[in-house]
């Protein structure tokens, strides 16, 4: 039966190829996702979120009647692959691209500026928020820098011993994503009476973090922030448990999600994490659309916060396409102009409202810190930061 259906689809695909597609109104959008690389543990879910929201839009009238054609590729978290995918998409004349990692987004930023193609990234690097430098880069979440600030603020509140400052260690991947928020974190810690006592680098495909953890133990860190994706975070947590360390760990939104307690099991207990998007299934107004869509199309399958993240990213740029289309300017410049009209754009509680101006591309500065209790994600509280001008682009 399954085979039959696949055969039918193949036949249809061949037929479509042969006759040439005759779709009048189409908006081409590029997607550069990591489905098989070192961040695919979180990248796949994100990509699914983007795709599903596009499918939902196309099924309910599209962008003012025009269908979105998502041309997506898997770049395996490799910068050269992303560059060549970008070149292909440019040739396809996409209006906008939804990309992924920090390294590749930074590598592409000069191309993006030259070609004037708005680029949404899964990366929330603070570097990308200054329109004077990166006028076409966007993302939907507070920046990595605000996220580490939120976590450090939580540390400050959690630290009860007033005789000395809390000692914090930073673990990060040996790549642009890992290092992105570290400078912001160091400065924020310094200004707020937190001592960064140790920094440990985790190589790309590390298998064991024992020596890093032992180093950290020597420096006596009370808290540690792990800035890698879920698989890596789980390795560090398990290593720490095996060594019997008492350090309290925290992680970033690509390390901390519903997946973490599944992979790290008991080692994940008590771990905190920054969550700019709500976990899947949280009772907020915007969640109904996701659950209905999944009931209708994926048999009610459950997802995670990464899926919500992809979904919200697509929500925002679909809205921008609608606005640009209404203004009759469905071009890269037109979409950027439309994005810069966003003011407290509400995403149904899936993530905090989004605002962009021509001089400030920080989408929002509010993020929640969650903690894992009994294998479940429990919200601690929201942190909001002022839009300090000196924090723009940091």
């Amino acid at each position: 039966m399954h085979l039959m259906r696949n055969a039918m689809r193949l036949a249809m695909a061949v037929a479509v190829l042969a006759t040439g597609q005759a779709v009048a109104q189409e908006i081409k959008v590029g997607g550069i996702f990591d489905l098989t690389g070192i961040t695919s543990d979180v990248g796949k879910s994100y990509a699914q979120g983007v795709r599903d929201y596009v499918a939902l839009t196309n099924g309910s009238g599209g962008v003012n009647g025009k269908k979105i054609k998502l041309i997506d590729v898997d770049y395996g978290y490799k910068i050269p692959e992303a560059v060549s995918a970008y070149k292909r998409m440019k040739e396809e004349k996409v209006v906008l691209i939804n990309g992924w990692g920090t390294g590749d987004t930074l590598a592409l930023k000069n191309f993006i500026n030259e070609d004037k193609i708005p680029y949404f990234s899964g990366s929330f690097a603070g570097d990308l928020t200054d329109p004077a430098k990166t006028p076409y880069n966007f993302f939907v979440a507070p920046s990595y820098s605000d996220q580490i600030r939120a976590w450090l603020s939580w540390v400050k509140e959690d630290w009860k011993d007033k005789s000395r400052n809390p000692k914090v260690a930073l673990f990060y991947g040996d790549n642009a994503y890992g290092k992105a928020p570290m400078e912001a974190g160091r400065r924020f810690a310094k200004e707020n009476g937190i001592d960064v006592v140790d920094e440990e680098i985790l190589p790309g495909n590390f298998q064991d973090a024992t020596s890093q953890l032992l180093n950290m133990k020597q420096k006596g860190a009370d808290y540690a922030y792990i800035n890698v994706t879920t698989t890596g975070v789980s390795l560090v947590l398990k290593g720490a448990k095996a060594l019997g360390l008492a350090t309290k760990f925290g992680s970033n939104p690509y390390g901390f999600s519903e997946q973490l307690p599944l992979v790290a099991k008991e080692a994940a207990e008590g771990v905190t994490g920054v969550m700019p998007q709500v976990p899947y299934g949280t009772p907020v107004p915007g969640m109904k659309a996701l659950i209905d869509f999944n009931k209708a199309n994926h048999g009610g399958e459950a997802h995670d916060a990464l899926y919500v993240r992809g979904w919200t990213s697509a929500m925002v740029w679909v809205e921008a396409l609608k606005r640009a289309d209404k203004a009759g300017k469905l071009t890269g410049e037109g979409v950027r102009a439309a994005l810069e009209t966003f003011k407290d754009f509400d995403l149904g509680g899936l993530t905090s409202p989004v605002t962009w101006t021509a001089t400030d591309h920080r989408p929002s500065t509010t993020t929640a810190v969650f903690i894992i209790k009994g294998g479940k994600l429990v919200k601690v509280k929201d942190y909001t930061f002022p839009r300090k001008p000196e924090w723009l682009g940091l």
Binding site: P203, A242, L243
Partner: protein
């Protein structure tokens, strides 16, 4: 001092996994003079197959593990029969490339079937660490140490007393002489490949249990273990074990003492630096057999 000891102990336990995979390399090299670059993929495949039998077919862990070993043995024989046998007499580079090509195919197969997500592994070992003196050590590593010891003893006995083992040693010594003594060299090769695949699968399952999950990164162990077997000498079983433990400790010590100085990553490269140093002094590794070439 405690820092140092802890680094050494954790290095030893990781080294035991290296030793296990290294054993597979050595067994293949000893009998057929092939360095199998697909060894890491055997390890990964073993881990995945065991998980699939365990979760999809609801077989209890122990039988699932035994089935995996059976599967690996079969896989090894198949690989040898279909791919390696036509390569007899081809230059080294071709054989190296063949195993590299094979590793691509196996990786693609695993990725295609199971995807690239980290799959959670059943809890084989209790996760609470055990105290060795003052030092906490995770139980999974103790099991891997134990299995290394068991396997090493088994292989020593096997090579020394069993007919097949003696035949393997004879083949390693000289294929022509072995042939003329009525040993089926083809069968010995197949046996070597299946033993190597089985040993790797044991390593894969242990690793899965220790890490609590399995993903494509397991294949990297194949590359990581290369300095180990070269250090020990490609044709020495004892060398693989010693090499594995030494490399584990070396990695951890360099990670512990040098990482803070240069900003990380030394751990990954230290084994290779050591490798170059050793090879420039002893071109056949520490315990390897020195080849005398004649025209």
């Amino acid at each position: 001092m405690e820092f140092f000891l802890q680094l050494v102990v954790s290095g030893l336990v990781i080294g035991s996994i290296y030793a296990l995979v290294g054993l597979g390399f050595v067994i293949i090299y000893k009998s057929s003079s092939i360095l199998n670059f697909a060894q890491g993929e055997f390890l990964m495949l073993g881990a995945y197959v065991c998980l699939a039998i365990f979760t999809s077919y609801k077989v209890p862990f122990l039988p699932a593990f035994l089935l995996t070993l059976g599967f690996s043995a079969l896989l090894g024989v198949l690989m040898e029969r279909l791919l390696l046998r036509p390569m007899i007499g081809e230059p080294v580079i071709s054989v190296i490339m063949l195993t590299l090509g094979l590793s691509s195919v196996l990786k693609a197969l695993v990725q295609g079937i199971w995807g690239t997500d980290t799959r959670p592994y059943p809890e084989i070992f209790p996760t609470t660490p055990v105290m060795v003196g003052p030092l906490p050590v995770s139980q999974g590593y103790l099991y891997s140490m134990a299995s290394v010891v068991v396997l090493l003893t088994m292989f020593s006995v096997f090579f020394k007393y069993s007919r097949a083992g003696i035949a393997m040693r004879a083949t390693a010594f000289s294929q022509q002489v072995a042939l003329s003594m009525g040993i089926s060299v083809k069968r010995i090769f197949a046996l070597a490949w299946s033993i190597a695949a089985v040993v790797s699968a044991v390593g894969g399952v242990l690793l899965g249990g220790i890490r609590g999950g399995v993903d494509g990164a397991f294949a990297l162990f194949g590359l990581k273990v290369i300095p180990v077997v070269i250090l020990g000498g490609l044709d020495s079983v004892a060398g693989a074990i010693v090499g594995g433990l030494v490399m584990g400790v070396l990695e951890n010590l360099s990670g512990g003492y040098l990482d803070p100085l240069v900003g990380g990553g030394v751990k990954e490269v230290a084994p290779f630096i050591a490798l170059v140093a050793i090879l420039s002094v002893k071109p056949y590794g520490l315990f390897g057999k020195v080849k005398i070439e004649r025209v």
